[in-house]
């Protein structure tokens, strides 16, 4: 067992973890932040994407022990004062989802894209989201949502 201290969605948390605890299970089971989804659990589908120190990562392939002291943002940490984050609002407006399972990861990944590139082209959006798999939408509305969010932020 190890003690780790992280800042999760702006709040400091100190918890006991096992050395092999993964970030995806940590946020879901120990912090009850179940917005982060576990899809394939093999780092391919991207449903579990969160931000660690501002960069998007796949939380199912990350040891909590490895990121002691870091800042973590999950999908629950995006909205501020009850207002949806512009990326969440754009996904809602453009219906960038159907079943919604991939959506938290899609949104976290897309937010990171705009941190790297302010006005991405369709191709750049599709390329960046290669690690996020959606089996419902065919991606059209997701790309439209990311473009709208880029315009609004």
């Amino acid at each position: 067992m190890k003690e780790v201290t992280l800042e999760v969605n702006g709040k400091k948390v100190t918890k006991q973890i096992q050395d092999h605890t993964l970030l995806s299970t940590f946020v879901r089971d120990q912090l009850n932040l179940t917005g982060t989804h576990i899809g394939c659990d093999t780092s391919q589908c991207g449903a579990c994407v969160v931000h660690v120190d501002g960069k998007s990562v796949k939380s199912c392939t990350l040891l909590v022990a490895d990121i002691d002291g870091s800042k973590v943002t999950t999908i629950e940490g995006l909205s501020q004062n009850g207002e949806l984050h512009p990326m969440q609002a754009a996904f809602k407006k453009h219906h960038g989802l159907q079943c919604g399972y991939c959506t938290p990861g899609m949104i976290m990944s897309s937010v990171d894209l705009l941190q790297n590139k302010k006005n991405p082209s369709d191709e750049e959006i599709r390329e960046w989201l290669e690690g996020n798999i959606c089996r419902c939408t065919g991606y059209q509305n997701i790309v439209a949502a990311v473009k709208e969010a880029a315009k609004n932020s």
């Binding site: 050395d19 093999t42 290669e130």
Partner: protein, 262 residues
């Protein structure tokens, strides 16, 4: 995943001291953690090497680019210095896996793993790399031994990779659409001393296609590769591509790599 003891080393010396016959070094973990989750690998001790300062950083001289082993793919891709010195190398790094893999995966981890379809091993062979370890310096030619097998001894830790700056070069990857690993990747580099053509994804381990090198040494143009026959006996044949298809991809990818060399 089976339980293990996690250690974070702060120096190369501390890391090698912690190493045992039942330990592994952890860098980005992009292959190692999934392998442990699938029970393909398991260790008593996992030694994280990312906090070792000596394993980070990019140094460019007139002849070489030296990249610390724990440098992430995203940092190589975005490095202005690498983009200027060896554009094919930063471009290769920018297309490994996906954005999240590039935010965690590292150069040292990739070559230590030596996946037969990984991109970086081809860069090492094409760019005459020297692999710096905790014990010695190893030429790339002698480093990649076989499928997932390298010249590293137990407990030996890669600290940096030194790439020779070529006159011009290009890496052309034909990625598997699902995994983005190379079904075939061809890295062509023209050095003063001669042309290197390194191929990944096609055999059990990265290799140099000497027939192509000979043709390109005589005439550095895509047309010089016309009529070169690729021996299919050693090529991978799997659900993604037959050996014959891979042979065809090697030739077309090599031509594209030569055409795009800069």
């Amino acid at each position: 995943m089976k339980a293990f003891n996690y250690h974070s080393a702060s120096s190369v010396k501390e890391a090698t001291k912690l190493a045992s016959s039942n330990s592994a070094y952890l860098s980005g973990g992009m292959t190692m953690i999934p392998s442990m989750k699938m029970r393909l690998a398991n260790y008593k001790d996992v030694i994280d090497v990312k906090k070792i300062k000596d394993l980070h950083g990019i140094k460019v001289t007139s002849k070489s680019v030296v990249i610390g082993a724990a440098t992430k793919h995203a940092d190589v891709a975005n490095s202005k210095e690498v983009q200027k010195a060896i554009p094919s190398l930063s471009s290769l790094a920018s297309r490994i896996g996906d954005a999240q893999v590039r935010n965690r995966g590292t150069l040292g981890g990739s070559i230590a793993n030596n996946d037969p379809t990984a991109c970086y091993p081809s860069a090492c062979l094409a760019l005459n790399a020297i692999i710096h370890t905790s014990d010695r310096k190893i030429e790339a030619e002698k480093f990649f031994k076989g499928m997932f097998e390298t010249a590293l001894k137990k407990g030996e830790l890669i600290t940096a990779v030194e790439f020779q700056i070529p006159e011009k070069s290009h890496y052309f990857k034909f990625p598997n659409p699902a995994s983005r690993y190379a079904m075939v990747g061809v890295y062509v580099a023209k050095h003063k001393s001669g042309v290197h053509v390194a191929i990944t994804g096609a055999q059990s381990v990265v290799y140099r296609e000497k027939n192509m090198e000979k043709a390109l040494n005589d005439n550095f143009s895509a047309s010089a590769l016309n009529g070169i026959s690729i021996d299919t006996s050693e090529l991978n044949s799997d659900i993604h591509a037959s050996a014959e298809y891979r042979a065809s991809l090697i030739l077309s990818s090599a031509k594209k790599a030569v055409e795009h060399c800069k």
